[in-house]
């Protein structure tokens, strides 16, 4: 198995490596390896950049301290078109008919489109769209309605 951001590692057992020395970053990674989290998840937890984390994981594999046990499913869940229709319907109530254009512009800003927008990135989209509502109480009302929609979806 090739090490990538979706790789899951565990500590090598039943094998005693020779004397090894670890730097503080390698030690930080070792403390997070649990046989469940991916390289990417551990990198985020430790606020390492992905290339930085990959380098550390590679070093630990080479030292014989960790091994790759699985590659997690890489498919990203995306939101449905019905969600975007509903979002548009709600946003129209707050900013009027420009809502469609605002949503499209914001998606463009995020380098995404309606057909492949990841589900876990919806809160970021809501935050950006909220900024288009100048009235503070209306902004909160929009966020309230969006949270309800998120729970349903």
């Amino acid at each position: 198995m090739q090490l990538n951001k979706h790789a899951v590692c565990c500590l090598v057992s039943g094998k005693m490596p020779g004397e090894v020395s670890l730097n503080s970053m390698e030690w930080a990674v070792i403390t997070q390896i649990d046989g469940e989290r991916t390289v990417d998840e551990i990198a985020r937890k430790l606020t390492f950049s992905l290339p930085e984390a990959m380098q550390i994981f590679n070093a630990l594999v080479e030292k014989g301290l960790i091994e790759i046990i699985a590659i997690k499913d890489e498919t990203v869940k995306t939101v449905s078109s019905a969600f975007f229709n509903q979002l548009e319907k709600i946003l129209v109530q707050f900013i009027g008919p420009v809502a469609t254009y605002v949503i499209n512009d914001t998606l463009l800003e995020l380098n995404a489109d309606r057909s492949n927008y990841p589900k876990n990135m919806v809160p970021e989209l809501i935050e950006l769209l909220s900024d288009e509502i100048s009235d503070e109480s209306k902004k909160i009302e929009f966020q309230k309605q969006m949270l309800t929609l998120l729970k349903k979806d």
């Binding site: 937890k45 809501i126 935050e127 309230k144």
Partner: protein, 145 residues
């Protein structure tokens, strides 16, 4: 009722602690035990000092986010209280910010909460007054240019 509102935040993935503190630094409502109460109070006071110092310079601080002890600590300020949350993943921060905005709005209409808040009213600037700092803090301040 405020407990139910706290549960909404606690239900967010990786959120390990939520605490509502008054501007006195006292914990009113809490969900999660990852930090002892004394430490939460101390954190609240530090955050309130930053809030008060910013207010003195004419900036109204709404929220702060820190990386702390391998966790993400968020402070959301509102009139007379602050909500401290601790989570272990940065991926939920956007959802957390939205939820906190809605929570603050809901709490502002919650009678039991408003009753509690009235009892614990205090100006955050009190945490900046002479005598409010401990020896360690006085030592650090004395080293400032």
């Amino acid at each position: 009722m405020p407990e139910r509102i706290l549960k909404e935040i606690r239900n967010i993935d990786t959120v390990e602690l939520v605490a509502i503190c008054s501007f006195k630094g006292e914990i009113g409502f809490k969900s999660g035990n990852m930090i002892p109460d004394d430490e939460i109070r101390q954190i609240a006071i530090y955050l309130l000092r930053i809030y008060a110092a910013q207010k003195l310079t004419g900036n109204k601080l709404l929220s702060m986010e820190f990386y702390w002890n391998n966790h993400f600590l968020t402070a959301r300020f509102a009139d007379g209280f602050l909500i401290i949350t601790v989570c272990s993943s940065s991926e939920v921060l956007a959802l957390l910010r939205i939820t906190l905005n809605v929570t603050v709005a809901n709490l502002s209409e919650n009678k039991p909460f408003l009753k509690w808040l009235k009892k614990h009213k205090q100006d955050a600037s009190k945490h900046l007054r002479r005598g409010a700092f401990d020896d360690l803090e006085i030592g650090l301040i004395s080293r400032l240019g």
